[in-house]
């Protein structure tokens, strides 16, 4: 099939797509967006998390045929040009990145969490990130980063209020 999909706000087309291949494969191998990682292909590690029509999903479990005409936002779409999103900046400053393999999925999931719950409790953070496995950091720096991003967003909201 020829797949037409909006990715990070831009329309894209890919030819010779097999409908049963995963959206993750499309993003990485056909559209040149390697930010979403392939680590398990069974929805367990969360490193391929993307927004699909505004809802976080594991790209490895979305059939390419299901992505036709849909809106996808990957980790590459979080930044505004050279300006990092608050979540990305917080991860860098808190030292929440080590090998970086899990980071794209964590960033998308954290981004979604803070949009839904601007001031999440630690329990809510852990529950939200339950589907994102990390081998390196031991999660504490990730928790620090999420708290920092939440603080920053709160400060920003007050400044605009």
């Amino acid at each position: 099939m020829r797949l037409t999909v909006t990715v990070n706000g831009q329309p894209h087309e890919a030819d010779d797509v097999w409908e049963g291949e995963s959206l993750l494969y499309v993003l990485r191998e056909r559209l040149g967006l390697p930010g979403s990682k392939n680590a398990c292909e069974q929805g367990e590690c969360g490193s391929c998390t993307v927004y699909l029509d505004g809802v976080p999903a594991c790209a490895c479990l979305v059939a390419a045929g299901q992505a036709e005409g849909r809106d996808v936002r990957t980790v590459e779409g979080l930044a505004d040009g050279e300006r990092l999103d608050e979540v990305q900046a917080a991860f860098v400053e808190a030292g929440a990145v080590q090998c970086g393999f899990c980071t794209p999925g964590l960033l998308v999931q954290t981004h979604d969490l803070l949009n839904r719950k601007p001031n999440p409790s630690d329990a809510e953070i852990r529950e939200s990130l339950a589907g994102n496995l990390c081998r390196c950091t031991g999660y504490e720096k990730i928790m620090d980063a999420v708290r920092l991003a939440a603080q920053r967003k709160a400060t920003e909201r007050k400044a605009h209020a």
Binding site: M1, W18, E19, G20, S22, E41, Q42, G43, E44, G46, T49, V55, P56, A57, C58, C60, L61, V62, A63, G65, Q66, E68, Q109, E127, S128, A130, G131, N132
Partner: protein, 289 residues
């Protein structure tokens, strides 16, 4: 492989009739794993995500009709107060990303004995609405599971919805696994009090070839509970209930757990959840997911 993308329920049924071997796919949380690992090479995929009739829910005449394609996340958020047992079970499914995509219909379709959504449906006497171009029928949840990963669907049928009554009393769901999240159940137990008819409903998961109820345990406890005066639960009754639930199961030894442990865990979960729901019932409080 053919990829069918029906835009309506009628179209989906026609597609299934024309391609009986087509594998329905909604959230893809099970199907795509099979495809990714080359365990599954369907002759056709029938994508149900474009069928709007599947993703809603409605309530009429004291019954809920939950579309087969409603994602777990929405079920929890929109129906958690009406079907608390099912909502608790839904929370234990996979991860937030999986729950955003996974559906009750897909869970039923794969008919895994370990499916988290199944025991609460049994405990609540749910009916599964299935349809084909030939017509529609309702299958009691107790008759839906026919074997390991097998269900009662005919070749041309699709799951349309689940029907169950909103909770009239407290409900609980309990799950034992290797960790707190992202885990396939070693065993599960669901319980629902139906004070309107003075009955307890149960559901056991991952401890037999299919999910199943514990009818002897139910009959025992129905007779023992003091529905009129709501007296505290005797410890001996809870203990006996747990034993009877364990006896209803026929678990296997496998990589996730031994048969003995499953029986033990079931007895513990049954005793605890019965105590919780009865306590809530006596105090007039409805547990919410």
């Amino acid at each position: 492989m053919e990829f069918l993308r029906p835009a309506s329920w009628r179209e989906a049924l026609e597609g299934k009739a024309a391609h009986p071997g087509a594998t329905p796919i909604a959230g893809g949380t099970d199907v795509m794993v099979g495809i990714n690992f080359d365990h599954l090479r369907p002759s056709a995929l029938l994508d149900l995500t474009g069928v709007p009739e599947l993703t809603g829910w409605s309530e009429a005449n004291e019954a809920l009709r939950i579309g087969a394609g409603l994602p777990y996340t929405r079920l929890i958020n929109e129906l958690g107060d009406r079907v608390p047992g099912l909502a608790i079970a839904s929370r234990t499914v996979g991860s937030p990303q999986i729950r955003n995509r996974g559906t009750l219909g897909g869970n039923l379709g794969s008919a895994s004995p370990a499916g988290d959504g199944h025991p609460p449906l049994l405990a609540s006497d749910a009916l599964i609405e299935v349809e084909s171009v030939r017509g529609k029928r309702l299958i009691p949840a107790t008759e839906f599971f026919t074997g390991v990963k097998r269900n009662a669907l005919a070749e041309d049928e699709l799951i349309a919805a689940v029907h169950l009554a909103p909770a009239t009393g407290p409900q609980q769901f309990s799950k034992v696994g290797t960790r707190n999240a992202m885990v396939i159940a070693m065993c599960t137990f669901a319980i629902a009090l139906h004070p309107d008819r003075r009955q307890v409903g149960t559901g056991i998961g991952s401890a037999a070839p299919t999910p199943l109820r514990a009818p002897v345990a139910e009959e025992f406890v129905n007779a023992e509970l003091d529905w009129e005066r709501r007296r505290p639960l005797a410890e001996s009754v809870a203990h006996r209930f747990g034993e009877l639930v364990a006896q209803a199961a026929s678990p296997i030894d496998d990589v996730r757990g031994t048969a003995d442990y499953r029986r033990h865990a079931l007895a513990v979960m049954a005793r605890r959840t019965l105590s919780w729901v009865w306590h809530d019932h006596c105090s007039g409080r409805q547990e919410c997911a």
